[in-house]
């Protein structure tokens, strides 16, 4: 009998508490879900529900108080190169050029410089930043800074791409453009991630982007629903079916 394949990502009974002066503050309570290959999943929830903490636990930047995160059946190790993160704050180094910022993630891999350059170029190109290779972050708009963040994350060829509110510090139009470009990249089969997990506080954004939406409750965050968004792509935010999903998720949160 062949063994049942382990899920691509398994988040099992994850709880997180902070302790202060002997008092416990629960942030997450027995959160569990699974991700399969080719899943694009968004986690939504009210602010302070612990969704960013959950993502940080999944990528190994934080540890759970209880529970586990398994990646293809194995516990996740910190600085797991199979997982890459895109941050809300972009997290770029101001003294490095676009290309150097993208290459930074590759340095740990000890690739020869030519291979690093080629890899960085490939993903700078993919996010539409060709022409800006030698620009410094101060010369870039917020949208372009986040493109650098996305190129840097993709360049390490992660199996799982995690994004923490990646568009929330951008103006609405730039954010929409980036959402469409991420979906365009996602539909390109030869680009690395096998699954995308994105945290957002915007229900519309989640319905626009995800195949599946995981809804967290108020603090402490618990999974209150998992919804398959079966709308065809590209999705039109003006259609009643779209609003139907948005309304349904709103009603689960408030």
């Amino acid at each position: 009998m062949s063994p049942v394949a382990a899920p691509f990502l398994e988040v099992k009974h994850v709880s997180k508490s902070y302790f202060e002066a002997g008092k416990e503050f629960k942030v997450l309570e027995t959160v569990g879900f699974e991700l399969a290959e080719r899943d694009f999943v968004c986690i939504v929830g009210p602010s302070g529900c612990g969704k960013s903490t959950l993502l940080r636990i999944i990528v190994g930047l934080d540890t759970p108080t209880a529970g586990s995160v398994r990646f293809e059946g194995k516990p996740l190790v910190p600085e797991n190169p199979q997982v890459a993160m895109v941050f809300q704050s972009f997290a770029l180094f101001p003294w490095l050029t676009v290309e150097q910022n993208v290459e930074l993630g590759l340095e740990a891999r000890h690739d020869p410089p030519e291979r690093r350059h080629a890899q960085a170029r490939k993903f700078i190109d993919a996010v539409g930043l060709a022409g800006f290779e030698n620009a410094f972050p101060r010369e870039l708009s917020g949208g372009m800074k986040q493109r650098v963040g996305i190129a840097r994350a993709l360049a390490v060829e992660p199996l799982l791409l995690c994004m923490d509110e990646p568009f929330s510090s951008l103006d609405a139009l730039t954010a929409q453009s980036l959402r469409d470009e991420i979906l365009q990249l996602w539909s390109t089969p030869d680009l690395p991630p096998k699954a995308v997990l994105m945290v957002t506080h915007s229900i519309e954004e989640a319905v626009y982007m995800a195949d599946r939406v995981i809804v967290l409750s108020n603090r402490p965050g618990r999974v209150v629903a998992e919804l398959e968004i079966d709308l065809p792509r590209p999705r039109n935010r003006k259609e009643p079916e779209f609003f139907g999903w948005v309304d349904e998720i709103y009603s689960l949160i408030v």
Binding site: G131, D171, A172, S177
Partner: protein, 180 residues
Amino acid sequence: MDKTADADGSGRPRMDLHSITKVSFSQVVALARAVDEHGGQADVARIAEDVEMELDGIGPIVAAAEFLGVVTVEDGDLRLTDFGRKLIKASVKERKAMLREFMKDLPVFRYVIQLIETSARPASRKDVIDALAVHFGSHSAEDLFRALVYWGRASELIAYDSRSELLTLRTPGVPMPPAH
């Protein structure tokens, strides 16, 4: 659209980049998408509400989209052009090529490309700003330069190194040597 018209009647060439100095290409593409979601035509106030922007915030983006030939504007109504429709369907790379086709014929780009080609060396920031001031008026030369660098990079027509402050020509699709 006549991109070289003497629009203000001053005898100076039209400041062709002027309407796109404070706008990014992605904002223009997203505006086109928003109009498309309304079936290709919508009132500007409606779009502003959709994208959660004030009218004075969306104004420059509408002006830029009109200048780039992505939408037409009439009595506050935005209408997506064929070019705009093509733009939103295109891949990121194809969009750059479409932008390049448009930009290379703008007088500002023609002028700067000629400047670099004839002198057969990179042009300095100072030289270009001075030239822009002479041709297009000094009050907006800095803004125009910033726009030239942004749209020049976005369309891969021009490369700029902010450390050496030098502008060079760029062959699209051919990467520049890495900076170190």
